[in-house]
């Protein structure tokens, strides 16, 4: 299977317009203004998706699709969002009484309408018809949302490469947020790639090799943080996605973040931001300066230093795999609105590219002492060149 940037753009547009339609459906049904925040095309494995569901406590509704395209769509909510949504759909309902079934029924029907609308655009684009199944409700008591996907044409291999279309939707008042996923089978991805033409396509193995590099980099960064702080950390997520450039800052909230921003140059060049929420920044600075009455300048310096080390850990593997050197600028300390920190980085690249490959990783301690988010934004053209080198044919 080969993938090219033109297909990725087509995917991204189809997914985005499907998600807008789904958001419109929810606005009509529940009377809650709903927006599509970001549409990401993620390149990962089945295990990545399952892990994400396992680690977050999610309520989800699944709908399978088959015919012109095969795969599965999932609408996933946090339990709080699900509760608020049910309240908007069936006001005044008491979930502790016999109404529990009606609550599940309302969520299933919402998913049915939203996911049905999402799929329509793909069917019309491919000039085919796609059948959808009745919805299945999954909460923490049931199995994983992908547990039955083998029957839908997915392979049994845990490391099977899949493309995941993830759309972040949220209500205008921020009270309800959820994700709409679409996971087509490999064969179906082939179908869409063919329909959108492959111009300079890269074998999916190159993306896979790059994803592995990202995972190795994130693990190295996590080990480095543990070595410096003496606190055990683990990589929670690490993924490569393809997003419209304006979607990069929009995937962060306007909560205040602290951390560092660095520029890297080489093949590829780009930007990296290492961000902590404020309590995490405090905790990490304290663990780096044990027993010291450190002033603000010293704490800032500690954060800069960890940013430096994490960046090196993250990028060294890339440079080695690509047999090149990547130069890293000194870290600039930042303390600002999260999305505004990333905005200038995306904007700089927006001058020459409409879409971006976004790498985002989250490193977390077991006891939630701190969370570290890494966002890397390589130049699209340069990354493509780098990926060509990783391709097995090269």
């Amino acid at each position: 299977m080969n993938l090219d940037v033109r297909s990725l753009r087509t995917f991204s547009r189809l997914a985005h317009s499907g998600a807008e339609k789904a958001a419109g459906s929810l606005t009509t049904l529940a009377g809650i203004d709903t927006y599509v925040n970001v549409t990401k095309v993620e390149l990962g494995t089945k295990t990545d998706v399952e892990n994400e569901f396992a680690e977050r406590d999610l309520v989800s509704v699944n709908i399978g699709f088959s015919g012109g395209l095969d795969g599965r769509t999932i609408l996933a909510f946090s339990p709080e969002s699900a509760e608020r949504l049910v309240d908007a759909l069936v006001p005044g309902m008491d979930p502790t009484s016999g109404d529990g079934e009606l609550a599940a029924s309302s969520l299933k029907e919402v998913a049915n309408i939203m996911l049905g609308g999402f799929i329509d655009g793909w069917a019309d684009y491919l000039d085919t018809s796609i059948d959808i199944t009745t919805p299945t409700y999954v909460d923490e008591d049931s199995g994983g949302p992908l547990e039955e996907v083998e029957t839908d044409g997915f392979e049994h291999r845990e490391d099977e490469r899949i493309l995941v279309f993830r759309n972040q939707l949220e209500a205008a008042d921020d009270a309800i947020g959820f994700d709409l996923y679409m996971v087509p089978t490999s064969q179906s991805i082939g179908t869409i790639v063919e329909a959108s033409g492959d111009d300079g396509a890269l074998p999916v193995e190159s993306f896979a090799a790059f994803s592995e590099m990202i995972c190795d980099g994130a693990n190295q960064a996590s080990d480095d943080i543990t070595a410096m702080t003496g606190i055990d950390t683990a990589v929670e997520v690490s993924r490569l996605s393809f997003v419209p450039i304006e979607g990069v800052p929009m995937s962060l909230t306007d909560g205040v973040r602290r951390g560092v921003v660095l520029e890297f140059t080489g093949t590829p060049s780009g930007y990296i931001a290492i961000l902590f929420d404020e309590p995490s920044a405090e905790n990490i600075a304290s663990s780096l300066l044990p027993g010291m009455e450190a002033d603000e300048a010293m704490r800032q310096s500690a954060i800069q230093e960890i940013g430096n080390i994490v960046t090196s850990g993250f990028l060294d593997g890339w440079a080695n795999a690509l047999e090149t050197t990547i130069e890293i600028s000194p870290p600039r300390h930042v303390h600002d609105i999260g999305s505004a920190i990333v905005d200038p980085l995306a904007t700089d690249l927006a001058q020459s590219q409409e879409y971006a490959f976004l790498i985002d990783s989250t490193i977390r301690t077991d006891d939630d002492e701190f969370t570290c988010d890494i966002y890397a934004l390589p130049d699209e053209n340069e990354l493509r060149k780098a990926l060509e080198q990783l391709s097995p044919a090269a």
Binding site: S25, T28, L89, E109, N112, M114, G117, A123, T128, S129
Partner: protein
């Protein structure tokens, strides 16, 4: 004029929503959760209009519509579905559907669709 409506949908929430929406306008004489029940209840209740979901377990709405139409060619069936694909609409036409409402619907659309099929029949 109030018509007798049979509501067919596998979602209890959606059947509730349709009942509320039709209250005071039309009379919901029965509810079915799948295509098999729909065919049985149609025979039993002889409604003026059927609102028919498409994706349902056991027997889907397209098959149920064909069955109802083959038993009573004068039946009025309005598809009521989240699927808006052109190809699927063609299937509905072939099955003999008289109207096609996409979810989420708004009250005026549903009332208009019912009025239109009743008028076409008269």
């Amino acid at each position: 004029m109030a018509s007798k409506v049979l509501v067919v949908d596998d979602s209890a929430f959606m059947r509730n929503l349709l009942k509320q929406l039709l209250e005071g306008e039309h009379e919901v004489v029965g509810e079915a959760e799948n295509g098999v029940e729909a065919v049985e209840l149609y025979r039993e209740l002889d409604p003026d209009v059927v609102t028919m979901d498409v994706v349902m377990p056991i027997r889907n709405g397209i098959e149920a519509t064909s069955e109802i139409k083959s038993q009573d060619s004068g039946a009025s069936v309005i598809m009521c579905t989240s699927v808006g694909q052109e190809e699927k609409m063609r299937e509905a036409v072939e099955a003999g559907a008289d109207g096609y409402i996409t979810k989420p619907f708004q009250k005026p659309n549903v009332l208009q669709a019912i009025a239109d099929v009743i008028q076409a029949e008269a």
